[in-house]
């Protein structure tokens, strides 16, 4: 238990008779990337929404860093250290890439309710945001409106927003979808680097990336975790091959 930063037990959610997540038990260790894979509609994104608190679960508990966060709302969970990316890019379209990152830095630096201080004169926020933009290789596009960024750059920007929060855990929902080879490579290197500070729960369909990154992999199908293990154990799991991979690796 002491080794786990995120511990989810018995998490279930139903819409009528349809169980979207069914007694999910999953955890995240310090320094770890735990990948969650499964077919479309298996309940991966719903699970993320339940963890961040945007979808209320019916039963179950969520403990983050020894603190029961089950009854906290989405904003409170974000404040205490859960940072996410969305399955479909979610950015502030009419803000520049730089301003998107600055927005993400506001809460941590207790600046949200600064009413009369000019945001443009806050050198500290500006410097922090630019550092993050360099990390995600978007520094050259700092002043481009987020809506004008390419799909791949928006995915990078979303990861940048998550990084800016300096959270306890990252929940990344298909962060590499739509990235080109160099973008994926950059993301893999970045994730390897940041996991030492904040572990990552990763949903990803790019199996090469998953097996390159994940310390553990869980497979979800019809809202249930059907297998958990190291990358090698998952690759050789017959059931997983049947329900998701569909081939032998």
């Amino acid at each position: 238990m002491k080794n786990k930063i995120l511990n989810i037990k018995n998490l279930s959610k139903s819409y009528g008779a349809f169980k979207v997540t069914d007694e999910i038990a999953i955890d995240l260790n310090f320094d770890e990337i735990h990948a969650l894979i499964g077919p479309n509609g298996a309940g991966k994104s719903t699970l993320i929404k339940q963890i961040v608190g945007s979808v209320k679960h019916d039963i179950g508990s969520i403990v983050l860093d020894q603190e029961d966060i089950t009854d906290l709302n989405d904003v409170e969970r974000a404040k205490i250290g859960i940072s996410r990316t969305f399955q479909v890019s979610s950015i502030i379209p009419k803000f520049s890439a730089l301003d998107n990152i600055i927005l993400s830095l506001l809460d941590k630096s207790k600046e949200t309710f600064q009413i009369f201080k000019s945001i443009r004169k806050n050198k500290e926020l500006d410097a922090k945001a630019k550092k993050i933009l360099r990390e995600i290789e978007l520094f050259d596009k700092s002043h481009i409106l987020a809506s004008e960024l390419s799909h791949g750059d928006r995915r990078k920007l979303e990861v940048g927003l998550a990084l800016a929060m300096d959270p306890k855990v990252f929940l990344f929902d298909e962060p590499m979808a739509g990235l080109d080879e160099s973008g994926t490579k950059m993301m893999i290197n970045l994730f390897k680097k940041i996991k030492t500070n904040s572990p990552i729960l990763l949903i990803e369909h790019d199996m090469d990336a998953v097996f390159a990154l994940a310390d553990r992999v869980s497979v979800i199908n019809y809202g249930k975790i059907v297998a958990t293990g190291t990358a090698d154990q998952i690759k050789s799991n017959v059931l997983v091959r049947d329900v998701y991979l569909g081939y032998e690796i």
Binding site: A78, S90, L103
Partner: protein, 327 residues
């Protein structure tokens, strides 16, 4: 942005030019019209913070405009009649001093904005529109059925409230007072929209879910914007009562909310000077078309349709684009 700044300077120039013409040609009516534009512009600047910058479609800002108006009217009424406002727990009399009336109008408008915002902001979309409208209509019907202050007939205050060392009955003097508040409202808005708080509420308009996900308490942010917005509109209501030396339930009616919204949409939402331009355009139409036909609002409706269909950034936005094409 540079082009918009250029226009803003021209707007400021007109704010000085028009009343100057009124003085030169001895036409105080021009000064009164300019004062009306300035005061309605302040009301619009208030709404613009909530509607234009934060995406809160309030159809209840007449409530704050009317509260500011009635506070001014009631305090002044009691002062002129030398009656106490209330006698328990302390005897409090009215006042005809603007320097006393303004802070009270501002505080009461802020309080009502807080209460209405606290309840309304639990909803969104069409429900938010309806609940803000409902609050304003409640106050409207309350004012109609309040005989102490004129009920449906309204309340006349005969004398404009006073300001130290200024003859407020002089149209130009009152214009300068109103202009000061306009500039103050613009200054407050400008500081707000360029602050971290401003960044938060402008982001909420675009993608509230994302803003929540970075740990920003969007409810609190929206509530504070709503309170500031309602307070500025309340201040405009206070000045409007002094301009007309009269306040009636009309200021609380939903038509007033609609008109303030029209100023914002016509001039340009989320543009600092948009509501002022919208109010000026509205008054100009009222004065020009109104002299030909009683149904001038038909033409206003037509123009509003055209603006919504073809110039969503309002008059300022349209001009802005035109100049960019010419470049």
């Amino acid at each position: 942005m540079i082009i918009e700044k250029f226009f803003n300077k021209w707007i400021m120039f007109f704010l000085i030019l028009i009343p100057s013409c009124g003085v030169i040609f001895d036409e105080p009516y021009f000064i009164t019209l300019a004062t009306k534009v300035v005061i309605l512009g302040i009301a619009g600047i208030g709404l613009n913070l909530a509607l234009g910058y934060c995406g809160l479609i309030s159809l209840g800002h007449a409530a704050f405009f009317g509260i500011g108006g009635y506070i001014t009217g009631i305090l002044s009424f009691h002062a002129l009649n030398d009656e106490v406002l209330f006698s328990w727990p302390l005897a409090v009399s009215g006042s005809s001093e603007m320097l006393i009336i303004w802070p009270i109008a501002i505080l009461v408008s802020a309080l009502f904005s807080f209460i209405i915002g606290l309840l309304s902001l639990r909803t969104s979309g069409v429900y938010f529109i309806m609940i803000t409208l409902a609050f304003a209509q409640m106050l409207y019907f309350f004012s109609i059925s309040w005989p102490n202050y004129g009920g449906e007939d309204g309340l006349s205050i005969y004398m404009r409230n006073s300001f130290p060392m200024v003859n407020t009955m002089d149209p130009l003097s009152f214009y300068v007072i109103s202009l000061f508040w306009l500039l103050f409202s613009i200054f407050i808005s400008l500081r707000l929209i360029n602050s971290p708080f401003g960044m938060s509420f402008q982001a909420i308009k675009q993608n509230e879910e994302r803003v929540k996900s970075v740990g920003i308490e969007t409810f609190k942010v929206k509530l504070l914007v709503f309170v500031i917005s309602g307070t500025i509109t309340g201040l405009a209501g206070s000045l409007y009562t002094d301009l007309n030396r009269f306040v009636s339930p009309t200021v609380l009616d939903w038509h007033t909310s609609g008109e303030i919204m029209v100023f914002v949409i016509l001039g340009g939402m989320a543009r600092l000077y948009g509501p002022l331009v919208g109010a000026a355009f509205f008054i100009a139409l009222e004065q020009t078309l109104g002299s030909y036909t009683e149904n001038w609002q038909f033409w206003l409706g037509l123009i509003l349709i055209l603006v919504i269909l073809y110039a969503r950034s309002g008059i300022l936005g349209l001009f802005d684009k035109k100049l960019r094409h010419e470049k």
